[in-house]
């Protein structure tokens, strides 16, 4: 029980790290290597707002999210759209976007270093215990998990039950065909990229309540996000969430029952299994 709850809470945190990337990669077809930096930048914003302006991190999401939306929209339309336009095929866009976002990664990291220096940052928010079935859990982790449920749930409903969500999925399936049915592909792509950025930023805000972070830690989150996105199937919110939960529970079970030293091994073992038996990911579509 303890393992499952701890694992689910961890899975919620992982989902927050990965869902943004899966939307960005699935719909806008941008393999955003700067996703970890987006997350850490949001951690810094939250930290700064909490420490200087005394803004509650949960409320902070409502300030950070619109900013992240505008910023990511701008990044897509100014920096990435030219790459999309000149790309002759999917592979070319993938290579170009990886290189471009690799650059953005260093730019963001550099800006954070200039602004905050290389130190570790953390603060105490809701770091009290909440008892479920006789075991104490961090309230901040529970809040982050609940927010993850809310965010991914809203996303899922939006994507499957609204008209605009349907057009987003249409672009994810086939941008060329989506254009033929009067969907403004550029705009939907920019929207999806910005939406992914918002989810990642919201994740950063929530994770900053219990993680210690510094300007150089983005890559850690990017790695985790990549594993989850590939395991879940690119562009599928359900897949990413389920992969995140599986990883969270598997890691916690390994740490508790076998040895905490083997958590990374457990992660990559699962990753290899998925790649061997379902290379398109849990919910991924078979490539033709």
């Amino acid at each position: 029980m303890e393992i499952i709850i701890t694992g689910i809470l961890l899975g919620g945190a992982y989902a927050l790290i990965a869902v943004g990337l899966t939307i960005q990669y699935g719909v806008a077809r941008i393999m955003n290597l700067a996703t970890g930096e987006t997350l850490v930048a949001s951690c810094f914003c939250t930290f700064w707002m909490f420490n200087s302006l005394k803004i509650n991190p949960i409320l902070g999401i409502f300030l950070i999210a619109p900013a992240a939306f505008i910023l990511n929209w701008a990044i897509y339309s100014l920096l990435l759209l030219p790459l999309v336009r000149r790309a002759k095929n999917k592979a070319m866009l993938e290579v170009d976007s990886i290189l471009a976002t690799f650059g953005i990664l260093f730019l963001l990291e550099g800006l954070m270093l200039v602004g905050f220096g290389g130190e570790y940052f953390s603060y105490s928010f809701l770091s009290t215990s909440y008892t479920i079935a006789g075991t104490a859990y961090g309230l901040n982790r529970i809040v982050a998990f609940l927010a993850a449920v809310l965010i991914t749930g809203t996303l899922y409903v939006f994507l499957t039950h609204t008209r605009y969500g349907t057009s987003v999925r249409a672009v994810a399936v086939d941008p060329a065909a989506a254009g033929l049915v009067a969907i403004n592909v550029d705009r939907v792509s920019a929207f999806a990229f910005a939406l992914g950025g918002v989810v990642t930023a919201a994740g950063g805000t929530l994770l900053s309540t219990f993680y210690t972070f510094n300007a150089s830690m983005g890559v850690v989150f990017t790695m985790k996000a990549l594993i989850i996105v590939i395991m879940g199937g690119v562009g599928d919110v359900r897949g990413a969430v389920i992969a995140a939960l599986i990883l969270g529970i598997a890691e916690t079970a390994t740490a508790t029952l076998i040895d905490p030293g083997l958590t990374i091994a457990a992660t990559y073992f699962l990753f290899i299994l998925i790649l061997l038996f379902r290379p398109q990911g849990l919910f991924g579509r078979q490539t033709t």
Binding site: S122, S127, S129, P260, T263
Partner: protein
């Protein structure tokens, strides 16, 4: 033809004047280079411990007009390089500093591994290498191999055995029981300390009821703390690194790990630790320490905050600054920036620093702080290898 010859002659003349001018200039300042992490995994510690001290030293020395070499004062000019936490970059940076910037002295980088990586190159060029954030048990071997190398901060054995010593003392006083949980981060420092610490605890008669390790960078440590909690230890010891030092403490607080002694490794002494945990930090042990009550140390903390805008940590910050003071005093005593003479002066002298008097025995500072404890918002050294001012350790009473 004639015109071009004239041009040639003029330009040669101009170049030689410029070279002459710049060499005159070079003798007016002492160029000091430092390559350390500004990015990468080591940057978190470097930003607290290393960079601010270089700035403070530059400020203090130049405010006096510089280092007194013979009968003139020479200001220091600093060259900074980022090694991105990679040993290969560190080596390249130092080569560049020496060959291109022509620095007169090099400040040691941050990190045990990186210091060892750059040691051969500094030895090749004969530069004094006063390493601080480099903790190893093989100091004697290294300083024999590289006679220009000095070690200041201590040995893994010193740190690990101190934990056993302090806990034993508390047990013998009847303050704590006999059961210990020991965990470590699976990386160089953590493994080495656990390797020495566990036998030391067993030898001191402790029963290790829970032991494990976890990968570098892990921040989800509920399984570790809960595992330890189920074993009902009297003391919890973690040889940990910065992000996990924070995560373990937070989780212990949440799970209400009821131990009378709680030890976490690197970064416990950081001001950010106390800032985050506030009164819950009371009674937490950590690696390192200083005697914050000496007048030198009080003055150092004050000027560190004033000049750099950030607070010094309660361990390696002061030693880092002391290492720069050693270099400065050695240059002044030698009366020259000639490397062999400066190295000889460091080997044989006693230096007045913020840490008190420092002497090197076989190139190694053998008196260092090994363990400290948060008491009323200050991290006091509670154990050392022969320093004055060790504070009496207290037991941990809850997480409020």
């Amino acid at each position: 033809m004639r015109v071009s010859n004239l041009c040639k002659a003029m330009s040669i003349g101009l170049i030689s004047v410029m070279i002459g001018f710049s060499s005159v200039q070079a003798q007016d300042v002492i160029k000091v280079g430092m390559s350390a992490a500004k990015t990468g995994p080591l940057s978190g510690g470097t930003a607290v411990t290393q960079w601010p001290n270089l700035k403070l030293w530059e400020h203090t020395v130049n405010a006096k007009g510089g280092i007194k070499v013979g009968d003139k004062r020479m200001p220091v000019k600093i060259f900074e390089y980022d090694d991105r936490s990679h040993p290969t970059d560190a080596v390249k940076n130092i080569q560049r500093m020496i060959n291109k910037d022509k620095v007169d002295f090099v400040v040691a980088p941050y990190g045990t591994g990186i210091n060892l990586a750059v040691a051969p190159i500094l030895a090749k060029y004969g530069y004094p290498h006063i390493a601080v954030s480099s903790i190893t048990d093989k100091g004697d071997e290294f300083t024999k191999r590289w006679p220009n190398m000095f070690l200041t901060l201590g040995t893994s054995t010193g740190f690990a055995e101190s934990v056993a010593d302090v806990l034993k003392k508390m047990r013998d006083q009847g303050k704590i029981g006999n059961k210990v949980a020991v965990v470590n981060v699976a990386d160089a420092f953590g493994i080495e300390l656990a390797h020495v610490g566990k036998p030391a605890l067993e030898k001191a008669g402790f029963e290790i009821v829970y032991e494990t390790s976890y990968p570098l960078g892990t921040q989800d440590l509920a399984p570790v703390i809960n595992g330890a909690k189920n074993a009902k230890p009297d003391a919890f010891v973690a040889f940990s690194y910065p992000p996990d030092t924070f995560a373990l403490t937070e989780q212990a607080k949440i799970s209400n790990l009821e131990v009378k002694a709680f030890y976490v490794g690197v970064a416990t002494c950081f001001p950010a630790f106390e800032k985050r945990f506030g009164s819950a930090a009371q009674g937490i042990f950590g690696a390192g320490g200083i005697n914050p009550d000496t007048p030198e140390m009080k003055a150092y903390f004050k000027s560190h905050l004033e000049v750099t805008g950030v607070a010094a940590d309660y361990w390696a910050s002061a030693t880092t600054y002391a290492s720069l003071q050693v270099l400065e005093q050695a240059i002044e005593r030698a009366g020259t920036i000639d490397h062999p003479q400066v190295i000889k002066t460091i080997k044989n002298g006693t230096f007045d620093t913020v840490m008190g008097k420092i002497t090197f025995d076989g190139n190694i500072n053998r008196k260092f702080w090994t363990m400290g404890q948060w008491q009323d918002g200050v991290f006091y050294g509670v154990a050392s290898t022969g320093l004055d001012g060790e504070k009496e350790p207290i037991i941990k009473t809850g997480w409020k």
